[in-house]
């Protein structure tokens, strides 16, 4: 296994400018072996630009990006030996069949059409005799996914890979990614499907306006945000709304309270509620979606008390 302390992908203050438009302002993150890194952010935030820069398709205007310790632009060819990539929009040559394209892509990475390839084709239920012209978006993605999963790489990059897949195929995708993880591979997964990211990713990077605004594990991120609490108490709780860290307090009939609580104030609030004799209590950890919404809402920007 590769040394787990050394990142496979290392990005340090990466910048990219298209003419006057600064697409990437400040991107930094690392991906380690055996790790699935979720890359999320609104449309146009710079996810695909980051990925294309990592792949040496675009030339960075500042900062540094290395894979296996090598510069992504200068040593692109060497690096690509150990990379598998599935673009966000898969365009395939219309007059070749899916099967021909899979084989070609494998040969280009010096891999073979193996038993694994055969199994993947069967699992994804792809008709490989059809010309790419006739494929739907999902089927085009399957072609690229099959080629990627059956090639032997150390870093797998998926740019919104499941946006055209049905739930069954999405599950196959997730299963395959977990296998890669178990095998100690590094995976960069850019996605909009938050449940997918939540389920599979060890760490997450949130990008907005060309900047990474947050990185860390979901647990760490949750810590930054609030837990939703639905509580019923025997005694009234007049002071609750004045306590620090309490937000969005609403009262339903039967003395049911809905509120959200800052993680760091959890202890105080719970102690207070216990004094008021809890009848029932439901706590929901913030979903990635809640996190996401907070960071995405660009009109409010990142703030800890706004909604």
């Amino acid at each position: 296994m590769i040394n787990e302390k050394v990142p496979i992908l290392h990005i340090d203050h990466l910048q990219k400018r298209f003419g006057k438009f600064q697409a990437l302002k400040n991107i930094s993150f690392d991906i380690y072996p055996g790790e699935v890194f979720g890359f999320i952010g609104p449309n146009g935030a710079g996810k695909s630009t980051t990925i294309r820069t990592i792949l040496g398709i675009l030339r960075a205007s500042g900062g540094q990006a290395t894979i296996f310790g090598k510069d992504v632009f200068k040593n692109a060819v060497e690096i690509h030996k150990k990379i598998a990539y599935v673009p966000g929009d898969v365009y395939l040559w219309p007059n070749l069949t899916g099967g021909e394209i899979i084989d070609l892509l494998l040969k280009l990475s010096h891999d073979q059409h193996s038993v694994k390839t055969y199994q993947l084709i069967k699992e994804f239920q792809l008709d490989t005799t059809k010309k790419a012209r006739t494929y739907s978006k999902g089927n085009r993605q399957k072609v690229a996914l099959i080629a990627a999963f059956s090639s032997d790489a150390d870093l797998y990059i998926f740019d919104e890979p499941t946006s055209g897949l049905d739930p069954l195929n999405e599950e196959i995708f997730q299963k395959e990614v977990l296998k890669l993880k178990a095998a100690g591979k590094a995976v960069l997964l850019s996605s909009h499907i938050l449940s997918e990211v939540e389920k599979m990713c060890d760490r997450i990077g949130i990008i907005r306006d060309g900047k990474i605004v947050e990185t860390g594990s979901l647990e760490q991120m949750r810590h930054l945000t609030r837990t939703l609490i639905k509580v019923q108490t025997r005694l009234p709780v007049p002071e609750l709304s004045t306590l620090p860290g309490v937000h969005n307090l609403t009262v339903e009939k039967g003395n049911f309270l809905n509120l959200s609580v800052d993680s760091e104030q959890m202890e105080t609030i719970m102690n207070y509620l216990v004094q008021k004799q809890i009848v029932s209590l439901q706590a929901t950890p913030p979903t990635l979606e809640d996190l996401f919404m907070r960071y995405y809402d660009s009109t409010n920007g990142v703030s800890h008390d706004g909604k």
Binding site: P87, E100, L104, L108
Partner: protein, 538 residues
Amino acid sequence: MVNEQFKKTFFLTRFNIKRDWLKIIIWAVALIALFVGVAAKFTGLYGTQTAIDQIIKTLKTPAMISLFGKMPSGPYTTADVFASEMTVFMTIVAVIMNFSFIIHATRGEKETGTLEIIQSHSVGRLSNLSSALLENFLINLVIGLIYAIGLEFAGLTGTNTNGNFLLGLGLGLAGFMFSTIAAVIAQLTDNSRSATILSYIIFGIMYLARMVTDISHPQATWYIPLGWVEKFSTYKDNNWLPVILMFCLSFVMIFIAFTLNNHRDIGSGIIATRSGKSNASPFLRGPLSLFWRLNRVSLIVWLFGLMILGATYGSVFNTIGDILKTNPLLKQLLNTQAINAANILIIKEFLAILMIVFAILALVPGLMLINYLKTGEEKGYLELIHSKQIGRLKLFNSILALAIVAAATIFFAGILGLYVGGKAVMKHPIALSIFMRGYTGYLSPMLIMLGISVCLVGWLPKLVVLNYGYIVVTFFIQYFGKLLKLPDWSKKISPFGFINQVPVKNFDVSTFWWQIAIGIILIVIGYLGYRRRDLLIN
């Protein structure tokens, strides 16, 4: 019901014109400038009767008939010379323009998926096709009218208003007729590539048929729609019958296209895409074999197309190389040997023009291949390749190698066709070595032309189309240079102008090498740009 089918046609037409306006303007300005510009120059060139008589003698030779069409009978004025030089040529240019517009509007839209969005709105089933046809009709009508008015103002000796409008509107209508033909073909195929290839095959067949009948049986040209433009007999008879025929054929084609359109699904064609192999052949293993695989059909069509074009021209060498036909008096003045030598010289001179035409035609697939580094990138087809262990240099070299080999081979096929065709009909065939002299002679300017495209792809990918324009200018200067008495320097603006009439004259080794050197330098410069720039993303 009928109205429903065409709902929003006018709206879509306006939308199309808005979308295409730049392309429309460039084509229209180029065509009008060419036509009216030549007209304006003509009185100066062929104002005197002696000048007219002289050029008429040339235009009446079979060689010139094969290139420019049949002359009506005399006596001749400046206007007659103009009409016979320009009619066939302007039709060819119009056909290229019309194919490009109609296939883009009917097939290109389907491929990008925009048509699906439009069709999901309250738009008639036939509206897309009818708006595309209407757009083409308007473009041709406006260009035709400006031709006619331009001729009125140019005031060539021997023109009349009837003839001016016949020629102008007739040329416009001829263009439109070909867009209706392509519209039918676009319904048969399910992608723009096949539609383009098929349309040009049909056009090519008509062109060859027109050439052969012009030389041997001018009456038979009536059977060929492309030949109708010659039958205007502008300024002599001012015959409007061909215009009526064109209208009729266009209506029939439009009717067929609508019927076909009504009987198929959006996005599909009558000729369906077949399934293929589920595995790649061992041969398909890298960028070079991929590019060959992607383009093989069109390259093979180019190869055989040029070979057939060559063979057809070759098959009229006996008529062309018969000096006695145009000048029977020579029989008394010269002995057989001298007459033979004169005949061979005529053919060689004709060959010098043909070879440039063939070289330029063979360049088109070469340029298209090189431009794929830009177009393929733009459409996203190359993104998967770029993520592989394929360096830019390898990708670049693969496409360049294929482009050079393809252009050289296709050019060779054309030359071979000329040789074989000529050999079949001539009593004293011209030696293959003379053809080969011409072949090697034009390889070096071809390399420069490919090099220019490489440079554009590397440094100014947005402007790759410019090189097509340069080729067209080159073609025009070489083709018309003598007839329009263009100044000598004009030839030197293109690398082809430095190849001094090979194979009439000898092949110049030093020219060959300095041109090859320039070609290589351009390629290296292009690569340096390509290596360091961003790849295009859609």
